[in-house]
Symmetry: C2
Subunit: 691 residues, 2 copies
């Protein structure tokens, strides 16, 4: 790609970003769009409708940028939880890393690359200059200037490792501090017990009761056995649907729409009022729900949530093997009630086993590459913009698929599913965007090359620099424009809701506050960081674009976390280890490429001297794993005991204990009172907990 | 090897065994040999001296065989602990397996092998017939008879897996039962805490005291901080040596030997009584010991043994992360006091780290093969006997080397060192005897063949059957004769002590009761089981010899456990998982060879149908690992709590608590009162614990 093509692409994307920015700023305060752009504020009742229009207001509507940057980390923590803080730390970490990389890359490496003569390019025509002249490919073979690149690789690695250590340490301490400051949460006091042994003449509930009250008489509080509710859940969903239709029909203005015929496909037979029809159907379904609910007592699953009076006792039970047989009384710390993935328990054991074995590694199956879309009309616009757009559309399908895979893999909590999907999406992205693009371009894309590990650096060194221009364009399209269009402007959702509103009846849906889709966003951000790290010394021209991406991302995601997303669960920063490992992987990938490049460029000494670097990085990673990872698995005895003691003096703890007894109940078991709701159709659904 | 050579070898070895058996039976009751053959009984005072000689007594001296077989497993358990029972279970397990294999192999497979015509051997001259005619090599290529071998492999695998499961289950339940029946042991109540954080102005002892009395006020009992005692230990050893010399000089009858000159090399200078010389030296050393001991208080190591009032609290502390930093307050269940490997703590931290990284895999460095001793005079005796004798002598050096390697690897308990050495010796034996012999014979002995995993079965199938005769001879020499000579007759030790007695002064050493060297014996037994399993369908002729070995071993080791060895530590059967894994490895090795053999013999269908077998075995192994392994790591909460409750009603528990406070003290710190001992030189050394 030549420089002018890149500039065209940047120009188009910049214009698009500006467009989305202005549209968003103007629309966000319009009441009709409030549900899209500030659903969280609306749900929390913090949004005042004000339909007036004035120029002053229009100008002040850009102030959201300032408001997004203003809150301190503590305010964000209080508002959105530790996961949101950790999520934003990925951006600040990226900014720190690429600020340093940018200074080194643009001020030192880029001039040296440009001064090289390897590629013999004409110097007079700058706009038509290939981007390659800014990359390491332009440095002469065997030139001593490559030692500057060598030093840059070493220094950069040291800086990134220092920052990684500092960040891991900071987040680990934040995690403890957050634990100390948080209110008692049911998950902390509760253990999920599985594989409860079957005793003849005794229900699982009785077994659990007798086991824990015998061995933990002073700390055992209560338990609730899990029941198989897949059928009930289906019925409740059906009831919900019928109820929604009923409400919809009631709200219709034209009375003729309220009728349908009773016979075949509603075309023949006697007329019925739709109202009567749905009311009757709802009654039927409600009857079924009641029948199913009363019979559910017998459908016990050998699993139970067992609650204790203190966090430490729950931790003890989850850490120490309970029964004599290691395959019975399997314990683990329970997720919080809203985090439990209930369908897990309804699946049969063998199904679950089969699942956990079969979905070890998906990904690497689908590959997409630039090659496939080599159109005849190779205009500058298309080379700059089109490939990455198609790639982007295809990739937007990946996160939902991975969530499905992870959810059938046997996790019991939504947060675990999301973390697992996050890792899957990350490797899928790295494999299918980075490696597939890089290796397909070099016509050496064969899996069997990985059977000869010695050739990998050479292969990557040949292939990776050639894709620099593609990835610069990718940062601009996927990084800049997609963040603006899809994240800030929520284009897809807006389009979808518009389609729904015009084509079919618009239902009076409740306002739905989404949660941050960590599993799709974290891999995206990490992939940009991987690009930045690998191309840092190869083609430093990518760095300014990345820095812009990180700045934009920081502002936009902060805004979204404050205004759009409400936390669905709280893992206490468990996503950070994923970020740490991925960054280490990026570093090692950079080292491998550096080894290959220095070899190709005929500086074998530099190549050999780079070999210790990946080894040192691996040692650093294993040290960090030992030093920090246990802090992210559970909480230490010291903290648990201190926090427990603090709670003992809290007067509200007894009411919390009462709550614990009922809080782990399958949501399908909670009764819904449609009948009351039916009286006044405008009132929202009433979900009453039957305590 | 031809049949007559084998018979010669068997004859020689049988005669040797008989010789050792008779010698042992006659000598064992002679008072002068009692220290060698029944040291345990002597130490326990159960041996009555009776120097009379009569024919009746001579005849009755063979009764030890009966006496060795008589005690039930419960009596053995009470006498020698669970480890001894588990050790004997290896023999009973082997007997069960090879009884079945022997019946199938000799009655079914052997006739079919013999009826084959592949090797075209003359049928009339049986004594000069090659042993190959009894092996699978003699079966015709593509013959349907190979399906009998195929069925045998499947059935044998099923039987072995069933027996393995049954045995694992049995030993796991024995382990729990033994735990319930055992007296309180200090290791159960104690946790070893390492990496105690340094606080300024506070000793480690104070840190430990304040930490555990704050967080475990109701269960914390006492602690003892470990001190760096390498210098003190050296001094105490020196004092011991000087004291022994002193005692020896005093016991001398000739007064002229009691003098030596003070000057150069004892040749010049004034005469000194040796007695005065040693007494003065002893006083000096004792002074040094006292000085060192008083200064040792400052040499604290950041490690401590912390005792609790109940087993369950100790288990909790060892399972749950204690401090906020995962690298501080590292806890693990403490070994029993006599099991602690004290030198570990004196090594510096960095040294320990370096060690634990560097000794991951030793072994496979030294290889010994039959080839190296191809002498000119190839007599039948030499082919049958000599190679395995030399191999045996070389291999006797391996276990001590492995113990040294394991002890510098960073284990804190002698039992852990022995278990680790056991695994090392096992792999060393399998690699250096089995693979080196097999692959060197086939001239395909290159490590790079393992880079092509697909060729391994073929390679083994070519090489393994050819070594059948060597391994049959090996079973006879190493299995039969070595068990008799070295284990029962204790030839090496007898020879050594004889040498000592004639060449230099014989010291009045105390009677030393040895412990069973699990690390050298278990790998030997398991290696024979590996031979039996791999050759079961290749050359069933090995099986009768193996069965004889297992029978002999059963009687002899039982005798040794009852009369010779005293348990040095008690792991509660932790050696069994090693046996289980090794047996599974043997099975898989057999399957791999079977896959290769069926391919070579041109029955590709049988070869393909064997492929699921190793996979099924691996699944079985991973199931057993999940099902049983946790039981061998610690004890479940249920048992710990029950046993603790039982102890609460025991009146002796308070005295046990008192004992706990002092029991984890470095043995070098316990004072030795030489002065008292000096008064009456004939009295044994008095080691008084300074409680």
């Amino acid at each position: 790609m030549i420089l002018s093509a890149l500039l065209t692409s940047v120009g188009i994307n910049f214009a698009l970003c500006l467009l989305f920015f202005i549209l968003y700023s103007v629309l966000r305060n319009r009441p009709s769009y409030a549900d899209f752009y500030i659903p969280r504020l609306v749900a929390e009742g913090k949004f005042q409708e004000d339909d007036e229009f004035s120029v002053v207001k229009l100008l002040s509507s850009f102030k959201w940028v300032k408001r997004a940057c203003q809150p301190s980390e503590e305010e964000l923590l209080a508002n959105s939880g530790l996961d949101a803080v950790v999520f934003m730390r990925i951006f600040t970490f990226g900014l720190k890393v690429f600020r340093f990389a940018g200074i080194v890359g643009i001020c030192i490496l880029l001039p040296f690359n440009y001064m090289g003569n390897q590629l013999n390019i004409d110097f007079t025509d700058l706009p038509n200059k290939s981007l390659e002249s800014f990359s390491i490919s332009n440095v002469d073979d065997g030139s001593n200037r490559l030692w500057i690149h060598f030093a840059a690789v070493y220094i950069f690695t040291a800086v990134v490792c220092y920052l990684l250590y500092y960040e891991y340490d900071y987040i680990a301490s934040k995690r403890i501090a957050y634990f100390y400051s948080s209110k008692p949460r049911p998950g902390q006091f509760t253990v999920l017990v599985r594989s409860i042994p079957a005793t003849s003449g005794r229900s699982f509930s009785e077994s659990v009761e007798s086991f824990f009250s015998e061995y933990y008489p002073s700390t055992y509080l209560s338990h609730s056995v899990v029941r198989r509710t897949s059928k009930l859940r289906g019925l409740v969903n059906e009831a919900d649907k019928v109820y929604k239709r009923l409400v919809h029909v009631k709200s219709k203005k034209h009375p003729q729409q309220r009728f349908k015929r009773a016979g075949f496909m509603g075309l023949f037979g006697r007329k019925l009022t739709l109202l009567d029809h749905y009311e009757k159907k709802l009654e039927d379904v409600e009857g079924n729900v009641r029948t199913e609910r009363s019979s559910i007592a017998g459908k016990e699953v050998p699993a139970a949530f067992v609650s204790f009076k203190s966090r430490f006792s729950a931790a003890i039970v989850s850490h120490v093997q309970q029964g004599v047989k290691p395959t019975e009384w399997i314990t683990e710390q329970a997720p919080d009630p809203q985090d439990v993935y209930w369908p897990f328990f309804s699946a049969s054991f063998i199904k679950r086993c089969a699942r956990s074995y079969s979905f070890g590694s998906v990904g690497g199956l689908v590959t997409f590459s630039e090659r496939h879309i080599k159109l005849k009309i190779v205009s500058q616009v298309i080379t700059g913009y089109f490939p990455s757009l198609i790639l982007e559309m295809f990739l937007s399908l990946v996160p939902p698929v991975m969530i499905v895979l992870s959810s059938i893999q046997g996790y019991i909590a939504l947060s675990q599913i999301e973390k697992s999907a996050c890792i899957k999406v990350l490797w899928f992205t790295i494999w299918n965007i980075f490696f597939a693009n890089v290796l397909s371009g070099s016509a050496l894309y064969r899996v069997d090359v990985f059977l000869e590990p010695k050739r990998i650096p050479e292969l990557l060194a040949v292939a990776v620099p050639g894709q620099a221009s593609f990835f610069i364009a990718y940062v601009v399209t996927s990084g800049w424009t997609k963040t603006f269009s899809s994240e800030l402007f929520r284009l897809k959702r807006l389009f979808w809701s518009f389609l729904k509103g015009t084509l079919c009846w618009k239902s009076d849906e409740e306002l739905e506050v989404p949660s941050n889709p960590y599993h799709s966003e974290i891999p995206r951000i990490l992939f940009f960081s991987l690009l930045g790290m690998t191309y840092f010394f190869l083609a430093p021209l990518i760095l300014p674009f990345l820095l812009v991406y990180y700045c934009l991302g920081y502002v936009i995601y902060r805004n979204q976390l404050l205004n759009v997303y409400a936390p669905k669960f709280e893992t206490g920063g468990k996503f950070w280890p994923v970020v740490h490992d991925a960054t280490n992987f990026s570093l090692i990938l950079m080292h491998v490429i550096a080894i290959g490049i220095f070899g190709l460029k005929k500086v074998p000494l530099a190549s050999s001297l780079t070999i210790p670097l990946p080894i040192l990085t691996l040692i650093f990673n294993s040290y960090c794993r030992r030093r920090f990872r246990p802090s992210f698995k559970g909480y230490p005895a010291e903290c648990l005991i201190n926090k427990d003691r603090f709670d003992q003096s809290d007067p509200t703890i007894s009411s919390f204990y009462d709550e614990l007894a009922t809080v782990y109940r399958d949501p399908a078991m909670k009764s819904v009172r449609y009948s009351e709701a039916r009286e006044s159709s405008s009132s929202p659904l009433l979900y009453g907990a039957d305590k």
